[in-house]
């Protein structure tokens, strides 16, 4: 504490003359935050973002890791998008901004509308590049801006190793979580694979919890008559009644 340039002023105030040249070197926000956490005892903070959904939190080791790439893979229909929706819901509940890159442009806005209902800038932002190949560029820009603690790259071509390394480096520099979601040809429809890339990589299977498909027409004045049409045309086992 005595060696720290952050000498407290009367009243417990700290003065940082210029953030960029703090400690005489140019620091990233994450580094500066780390330094501040050391000198200010009350600034203890979790290492990651807790999502609040037991299977996912368990898979991720408690929290969504910051500064790392988390990879979610599974075949189409395995519940990948639903898992991502749960993850985004959890993040937004904690007032985190989320940038979602929908590279395949197949996301259904109805399933996500409740996550961006406020008129301000909070919540979910979706980037829909006209060409899936631009998705990696989008994720690099979003991470580099430092505005989004969570960036989701959904779909698009498989990232080359060099780009993955670069994105991981930018995510680490800006203390952001990058979630890469892609379709795999193999795997079962019962769940998806969540893999955290880093010094201690870990891979966990998350079972899907989908029970029902969403009803197509959700208008409150239209009653749910699924099956009525089929029953009208199908021959009755008991013959015509009355």
């Amino acid at each position: 504490m005595t060696n720290s340039p952050l000498a407290p002023l009367p009243g417990g105030l700290y003065v940082v003359p210029d953030v960029r040249f703090f400690f005489g070197v140019i620091m990233s926000l994450a580094e500066l935050r780390q330094e501040l956490a050391q000198v200010i005892p009350s600034s203890a903070q979790p290492d990651g973002v807790a999502i609040g959904w037991a299977p996912l939190d368990h898979a991720l080791g408690g929290t969504l890791p910051r500064g790392l790439i988390t990879e979610i893979t599974g075949p189409a229909g395995s519940g990948r998008t639903t898992l991502l929706r749960r993850l985004v819901e959890g993040a937004i509940q904690q007032e985190l901004l989320v940038a979602y890159i929908d590279a395949e442009r197949t996301l259904n806005p109805r399933d996500w509308a409740h996550l961006a209902r406020r008129a301000d800038d909070d919540g979910l932002w979706v980037i829909r590049p006209p060409d899936p190949a631009r998705a990696a560029w989008c994720s690099e820009l979003l991470l580099r801006s430092g505005a989004f603690p969570i960036v989701i790259l959904d779909g698009g071509p498989v990232l080359p190793h060099a780009i993955t390394v670069r994105l991981a480096s930018i995510a680490r520099e800006h203390d952001a979580s990058l979630i890469v979601s892609r379709t795999s040809d193999s795997g079962s429809l019962r769940g998806v694979t969540v893999a955290v890339r880093g010094r201690t990589p870990r891979t966990v299977e998350v079972e899907r919890e989908i029970v029902v498909a969403r009803r197509l027409c959700a208008h409150p004045e239209v009653p749910d008559r699924r099956g009525v049409e089929r029953r009208r045309h199908a021959p009755s086992r008991y013959g015509r009644v009355g």
Partner: protein, 485 residues
């Protein structure tokens, strides 16, 4: 006052001490100091240059002249000079020479302090770089070429002293046609002072406009200036490129230091920038102006750069760019908003706007969107859209066990085989999907006066996932609209 900063691009002492020349194939473009002492001058043919060096019992090392490498180096140095002065012009046709505006430095230590800073920067590239400040470009340039006591590398010509300086300068330092120079030499006129002493009418009668132009220069009357004759406003930066460019890359390279300078100057005045005007000075075309207005004033260069870059990338260049001028159109007092570095959820709104501007410029305005509930009908695509405006309707959140849907836009045609009225198998993109369970139908129909559709939707579970298909009862065709994921 203007100062000229002269450096040699190759940039090392060792390079200058050897007999070297850069050549475009036929003629010499640039020479080292040793080669110059041996009598080699830019413009000589290669054979003549080699002969001159061989006469001094040495060999001329000829290197190829690469315009791209030179231009890149000049642009890089120009970007660094912008940090020292808001007006920087790389001299056309003379790489290694810059005209730099030296007005308005009274509160920053005056021109002497500017010269010291310029020299320190120039000497990073060449230890024998020289800088000078004078009323006119010609006087500043000549001052860098003359030998001064103690081998001084920086020289300040006092106001009104240009003509006095030029009086003793050799005529070779005054730009003019080589034939004219030879004619003057033949008449014994070898200094600028001697030329300036001739009657103007006589010079014009003998050598026409070229002669008169050289006569004016010899008298220190030089109307050449960097891009702007004067700085219109304090918050403006002007950068001229050595050669007109057709790509934005060099412009963007210079944009960063220019914006950093503007932001720093504004912050010193306690202001944040709310709008800037980028003026692209085009070659033989009217200047192109771009207004970059920010939703929130910024006091950092990075988000401002993103917005400016997005604006530049969105504009189509109709002619090569010669110079870039950035003017602060609107500035507001700095607010006391303070970010919380210890709070991981804290976000920088200006950074977000900057990256969105860049994404919209690169991908189109519809690339950055938010989900928006609408009430256009009962079809799945009529319930919500992607829009770049905030939501006005609130919808119910799907329950945790409800699946998310992926939608194909537009739907794709499929062939469906039915059994007992329900889909039993689907053929889509050449693959056969056996339906293990079909849930439905959900019948949706539009009003006959508005949207005359009539569809029967089915969720079809297959070993490879759950497809959402519908039967258009009007046409009898089947379509796949998406799948549960």
């Amino acid at each position: 006052m203007w100062s000229a900063d002269v450096t040699h691009l190759p940039g090392t002492d060792a390079w200058d001490d050897a007999h070297r020349a850069l050549s475009d194939g036929a003629r010499v473009r640039m020479v080292s100091s040793a080669a110059r002492l041996a009598g080699v001058t830019p413009g000589m043919t290669l054979n003549a240059a080699r002969a001159a060096v061989e006469a001094a019992s040495a060999t001329l090392d000829v290197l190829p002249w690469d315009d791209r490498v030179i231009a890149r180096a000049v642009t890089m140095v120009t970007g660094q000079l912008v940090d020292l002065s808001p007006q920087v012009t790389a001299a056309t046709g003379a790489p290694g020479v810059w005209w730099i505006g030296a007005s308005g430095f009274e509160k920053l230590g005056g021109e002497r302090a500017l010269l010291r800073r310029l020299l320190a920067l120039a000497q990073k590239y060449h230890p024998r770089s020289r800088v000078a400040s004078a009323d006119t470009c010609i006087a500043a340039h000549v001052a860098t070429m003359l030998r001064w006591p103690n081998n001084r590398s920086a020289h300040l010509v006092p106001p009104g002293g240009s003509m006095r300086l030029l009086r003793r300068a050799p005529l070779t330092l005054i730009p003019m046609d080589e034939e004219l120079r030879a004619a003057l030499s033949a008449l014994g006129i070898v200094t600028a002072g001697a030329l300036a002493a001739l009657p103007a009418g006589e010079v014009e009668r003998r050598w026409g406009d070229d002669g008169l132009r050289a006569w004016h220069l010899a008298r220190g009357e030089d109307d050449r200036r960097p891009v702007l004759a004067a700085i219109a406003a304090a918050a403006a930066v002007t950068v001229e490129l050595p050669d007109p460019v057709t790509t934005l890359e060099p412009v963007l390279f210079l944009l960063t230091p220019a914006l950093e300078r503007l932001v720093r100057d504004s912050a010193l005045k306690g202001e944040a920038i709310a709008a800037v005007v980028l003026t692209l000075v085009l070659d033989r075309a009217a200047p192109h102006e771009l207004l970059v207005a920010l939703a929130r004033p910024v006091a950092r260069a990075a988000p401002l750069f993103d917005q400016c870059r997005a604006a530049l990338e969105a504009c189509a260049l109709t002619a090569p760019v010669r110079a870039l001028a950035i003017t602060v159109r609107e500035a507001v007092p700095l607010s006391d908003e303070q970010g919380d570095l210890l709070r991981p959820t804290w976000k920088d709104p200006t950074a977000m706007e900057g990256v969105f501007a860049r994404l919209r410029a690169g991908l189109g305005v519809e690339a950055v969107v938010r989900p928006l509930l609408v009430d256009r009908g009962h079809r799945i695509e009529d319930r919500a859209i992607w829009a770049d405006r905030p939501a006005s309707m609130e919808g119910a959140a799907p329950s945790a066990t409800e699946a998310s849907t992926r939608l194909l836009t537009p739907p794709m045609p499929v062939a469906v085989r039915r059994r007992h009225g329900k889909p039993a198998a689907i053929r889509w993109e050449g693959r056969r999907w056996v339906v293990t369970r079909a849930t439905g139908p959900e019948h949706l129909a539009g009003a006959w006066w508005d949207q005359p559709y009539d569809r029967e939707y089915w969720y079809c579970d297959t070993p490879r996932g759950s497809l959402l298909i519908y039967h258009a009862r009007g046409t009898g065709r089947w379509w796949v609209e998406g799948w549960n994921d």
